[in-house]
Assembly symmetry: D2
């Protein structure tokens, strides 16, 4: 994350039974689902719901995802996802910090390409700057 | 659902991308996840969070689940789940009605056994009557 | 299931950690995923892979699903899914029996509509009879 | 991946409908499920099924996961997962290469701690060397 990273968005998700595994904790792939939910909430919050972007022909496919697991979240925990967005050349990067109360659960990031109608990879269009404006 | 069914509980869930499939709608198994989320919210609402019940040794494993699919929910839809609970002899039954705005999305039910510490199947303990009190 | 039900198809799936929950068993919604995998294998086996049907404009959306849970499957179990197909008027019904070794795990069924190009609900086309031929 | 990385293991998984999303491709979190399936197969292949390790009190929780998405896998694709294991001090690292036919789908890795009975983090026990022996 750099100084250029935008404002922080917050999303909260309660862990369903469906997301636990037999170790009694959230199965590791499900944190990427929480990333996605936080991303969707972030886009909605700036007036750019992802479903609308798709209808306009803009897609933001994930080209990289990474997660560091610090302390497992458990069933019924309310996980807070703080996310920040960074426009880096032709890419969009989102950083996530997941906490439960005072406990750091995980950190991670996703990197996205911007794909315009017809499948052409483009630079992030100006309207996405709403994500990074302070 | 019978007259004896208890009060209606309401839960709302927004469809994540994770739950869609290539038909562009919610994948059919995920409605059972929404049932579970609604059940958990119902139990929490009457002061019996499922995690607490489990810690006390009480489990409510699903022994039957059924869903009728009426009209598909889609990405980013806010699905409303109305649920009602019925204590039927040794079983607990929960009925669900899923709607998006005015559209009926699905109906369904789950039937649960009550398992006490040690794995013994028991009749629903009195505290579960909170679910059915009007 | 009726006498008219077709031949039995067999599919085997090994339970991944992803499908377990904190009770140490397969989360209940995942059995519907095993139904789907068995259905796909069945269609592939008679030369009608579902992806091909979709490309020809034929979809088989689920309009009902039901599952009776008998004995939980666990991590790394190899679950055998026996499925049989029944063409019932405008509907396609598939029945499933899930076992682990000699243990009955679950039974269930799904009911499907047949949707032709343009979204019109049609009777199951003749080629689907391959599913029920003995 | 280094020269010290062990032999290559191979696992094949067919993409179910459950794993697709409305973009018509495998939802990004599901690649981590394929990583897990490949890991489980690798352990089974060297005679150390993960379920057995857990029964002996050894757990290999994921502390980091990363994936680079190259070309999306689609419904019914058979994805080949090649995995290699590396014992790096107190950590176990597994690298994955996912392909469909000649197409590179994704690469990624997971890093695991070794947790002994009682929750103590330990160095990988000697029996895990079977994973890296040529």
């Amino acid at each position: 994350m750099t100084e250029a990273a935008g404002r922080e968005f917050e999303y909260r998700v309660r862990v369903p039974y469906a997301h636990t595994d037999q170790m009694g904790v959230v199965y590791y792939a499900n944190y990427l689902v929480y990333f996605e939910m936080a991303r969707a909430a972030m886009l909605r919050e700036v007036g750019l719901p992802y479903g609308e972007l798709e209808k306009q022909g803009l897609a933001l496919p994930v080209i990289e995802a990474s997660c560091l697991y610090k302390h497992p979240a458990r069933y019924d925990d309310e996980v807070r996802v703080a996310s920040r967005c960074l426009l880096a050349g032709p890419r969009l990067r989102v950083d996530y910090v997941l906490t439960c109360g005072q406990t750091l659960v995980a950190t991670g990031f996703t990197v996205h390409a911007c794909v315009a109608p017809g499948g052409k990879v483009v630079r992030p269009p100006p309207l996405l700057c709403r994500l990074t404006a302070p």
